[in-house]
Symmetry: C2
Subunit: 472 residues, 2 copies
């Protein structure tokens, strides 16, 4: 690496191109650009660059490519694994000034946006046209679509609409050497050569910078129904899932499961969260959501599903939301996870995002719970988007400071590896999960990832050290 003084000189040219608002250094660098939501300590980049156009992104990447400066692209900085945390001595390339909806095609059901546009802005712009952009996650007000694309964000409605990858029709991307790929396809069907945009979705900014996207829109749901119910055991959970899929088909928009310990040790302790059902005697609470087309027709269909589940004794207790307020209250039992840090709930804890075939989730939860307790004295609770094969684990050793992160990680990811699950269902790898990636991906896959990286970024300047280290 060049000495810092030299590197600072190297930025002078860029300052000329980007102007003072586009090139922040020293004390002017905002704290938010130094790390993400991973709790990793702030980094010390050379500068925070804030281009206002694709041509400014090109200028930055050409310059950094010529001068050998490392670049970390940044969106809303809400990632949980350190993917957007810049490198000491590198530059942060924030897309925050490239924000805005450029076009909506109501017939083609597409929206063209700049990469720095916040997710919530996109949701609202779609709604104003009577349309719907289905990607949704807790960070919607802060995260940007560019970050969603770079991490292939998931969220609550994947069971119906898929991951971010499934919602992207086209991308404009700038390669590490400054080459622009104007792949702003607007068609659902397009088999004209390699679908190159797939390379950049979920690559966590290691292969290029996403600057624009064409997104797929859907019709606004005509109505929403939700139910909370309690199942006796995991076999009953699977039977309820099968019934919900069969009876609601593609209207099923969420199937969230909370293991009883989560409900008892977490949900019911969060201030302000109501528990509309009693879990006593049951093993799992289930939140079922349907986005229907018409309240009269589909609302009745939803209630009839719940009645059948009760009648067949598949659920022990159940409640159907009677209002939007009820729906919010039902989701609050699931979203209580956001309040776990509160000292009266769980306090300091460790969170995991893993994936498994749905049939193995309960076995995993039992194994992980026992191993965490026996081996390192940790309690743990389990919940997740079970319909999508995505489980979240919250573990904590009461009173410990710091919490035993490496030890708990080895246990949880070790079991995941043995059960052929994924160490990251929706949060990505970043730096935090890097040591565990080989538990889910074999040596040939790791080699090919490094080979692809070397082919697109031979100098290893584009968000290096993320996902994996080193060359093939």
């Amino acid at each position: 690496m060049a000495p810092l003084a030299t590197k600072a000189d190297l930025l002078a040219e860029l300052r000329g191109v980007l102007g003072p608002a586009g090139c922040l250094q020293g004390a002017d660098m905002p704290a938010r650009n130094r790390t993400d939501w991973s709790f990793l300590p702030p980094a010390d980049p050379l500068a925070v660059l804030r281009p206002a156009s694709t041509s400014e992104v090109v200028a930055i990447l050409r310059h950094c490519h010529a001068q050998g400066i490392q670049v970390t692209p940044q969106g809303g900085m809400t990632g949980l694994c350190g993917g957007a945390r810049p490198l000491d001595g590198g530059v942060a390339l924030s897309l925050e000034r490239m924000s805005g909806v450029e076009a909506i095609d109501p017939h083609g059901m597409t929206m063209t946006v700049l990469a720095g546009t916040p997710l919530e802005t996109i949701q609202k712009a779609a709604a104003e046209q009577g349309l719907f952009f289905p990607l949704d996650l807790g960070a919607r007000g802060s995260c940007t679509i560019g970050g969603n694309i770079a991490t292939n964000a998931g969220g609550n409605r994947v069971i119906r609409y898929g991951m971010t990858r499934d919602l992207v029709l086209g991308l404009e991307v700038v390669l590490p050497d400054g080459t622009v790929l104007p792949m702003l396809n607007k068609m659902i069907k397009n088999n004209a050569g390699y679908d190159l945009k797939q390379l950049f979705i979920g690559a966590e900014g290691t292969l290029g910078v996403v600057t624009r996207a064409v997104l797929r829109l859907y019709p606004q749901p005509g109505c929403t129904s939700a139910a909370l119910c309690v199942a006796r055991d995991y076999d009953a959970v699977l039977a309820v899932l099968a019934a919900a899929r069969q009876r609601l088909g593609p209207l099923l928009s969420a199937f969230e499961v909370m293991w009883s310990d989560y409900w008892l040790q977490a949900t019911t302790r969060v201030p302000g969260v109501r528990a509309p059902v009693e879990i006593a005697g049951g093993s799992h609470a289930i939140l079922i959501e349907m986005q229907g087309l018409d309240h009269v027709i589909d609302g009745a269909r939803f209630e009839s599903l719940l009645e059948d589940l009760m009648e067949k004794d598949l659920v022990q207790d159940g409640a159907v939301a009677q209002s939007l307020g009820d729906i919010g209250a039902f989701w609050a039992t699931r979203d209580a996870a956001a309040e776990f840090a509160h000292p009266t709930v769980i306090g300091p804890h460790i969170s995991f995002d893993v994936g498994l075939p749905v049939s193995q989730m309960d076995a995993f939860a039992a194994r992980a719970k026992a191993a965490l307790a026996d081996q390192i004295g940790c309690q743990s609770v389990y919940y997740g988007h079970v319909g999508d094969g995505n489980l979240h684990v919250v573990a904590w050793r009461p009173g410990a400071d710091p919490q035993p992160l490496p030890e708990a990680s080895r246990i949880v990811y070790g079991i995941i590896g043995e059960m052929k699950g994924t160490v990251s269902a929706e949060h990505g790898i970043g730096t935090l999960k890097k040591p565990y990636l080989p538990l889910s991906r074999g040596p040939a896959e790791m080699d090919l990832m490094r080979h692809m990286k070397a082919a697109l970024d031979p100098q290893d300047l584009m968000n290096p050290t993320k996902i994996f280290d080193g060359s093939p």
Copy 2:
């Protein structure tokens, strides 16, 4: 290239590994392995290799890699662009003996299959478990899932279930050097590093050989409804599409449009095809299909949509299918395209598969029709999966033999290029569309495709000369 006699010697070792049924040469090579459905003349490969396992595929690719022999992977040979036609002096690697369903997970809704399994076998295996594999195309009895994956096949229900890419969760792939990538992921959500399987979907066998796949299954539809109706003009077609999307949401499973000339000059002339509606006074016939959950609830919903469309004068004439026989008859008007070669219908003709944003399709059809008539004396008719942005064009110069393929291609693809459409919506590029690919993909995209190919297949042995020629 080595002389043929030497190359034949090079195969002796493989014959030992694969056995006599696995290595066919000379007169033993079946005609079907020499070309596909593109009407390109039969090729003269060195041998047709038919491995029975992934390890035999590995042996073949290692051997060919070491000896510099070109390899063309083959599925059901039903492609229309020459992608699976072998190279003179290379080998054809047919997956036909690697056929069979290996596992079905009813909770995870996945099926694991060998790449040579026919699509229809997969559809039936899903149905036997009360599940549904939604990919469907005319060649279902002959095409294989490996070929569907290599070409990212589309078909009739893309508007609801997506392309083949959207139905693939995991792949086992053998790289050109014989390395196996065991990426048999079964989870909907998996963000553990680069999603490498995407590289091989739609790459037409140029980057590796798909040997196994994990497919996504869906619930069986509870009922199907269909309607044929006639719209006054293309604005009315767009209004009907918007209404169908809003009222049927994700239950809408097909939206096919036939321009009036298609209907009058083609559909109504095919022997045995009934015309349930009168197109007189209208400009387009529309086939709307809904896969519902329950006949009573959703059948009524479908009829009410049609009544509203009539009442609002968006459609001039309309018929709702009253039986499975009716649904088949309605689809027969659309599938009449398969009979165009019949001398009483159109006779010799040229077919195109292109894509455009839905709002521009009618303008394209008018422009192409005029240009084909004025410039080369061709008649033409238009129809397609309009809900997906996919249009088919059939053009012919009455009495001409041969038909003016290059001239018509230049006109049709030239207009597509100007209107920023795609020269291939679902058929791929192969060799036939290779000259026109740069009309849809810019120089930077073409360069990156070649660069990717060189990175994965530096000797250019894996189905070379397909999609594009040469090195970066």
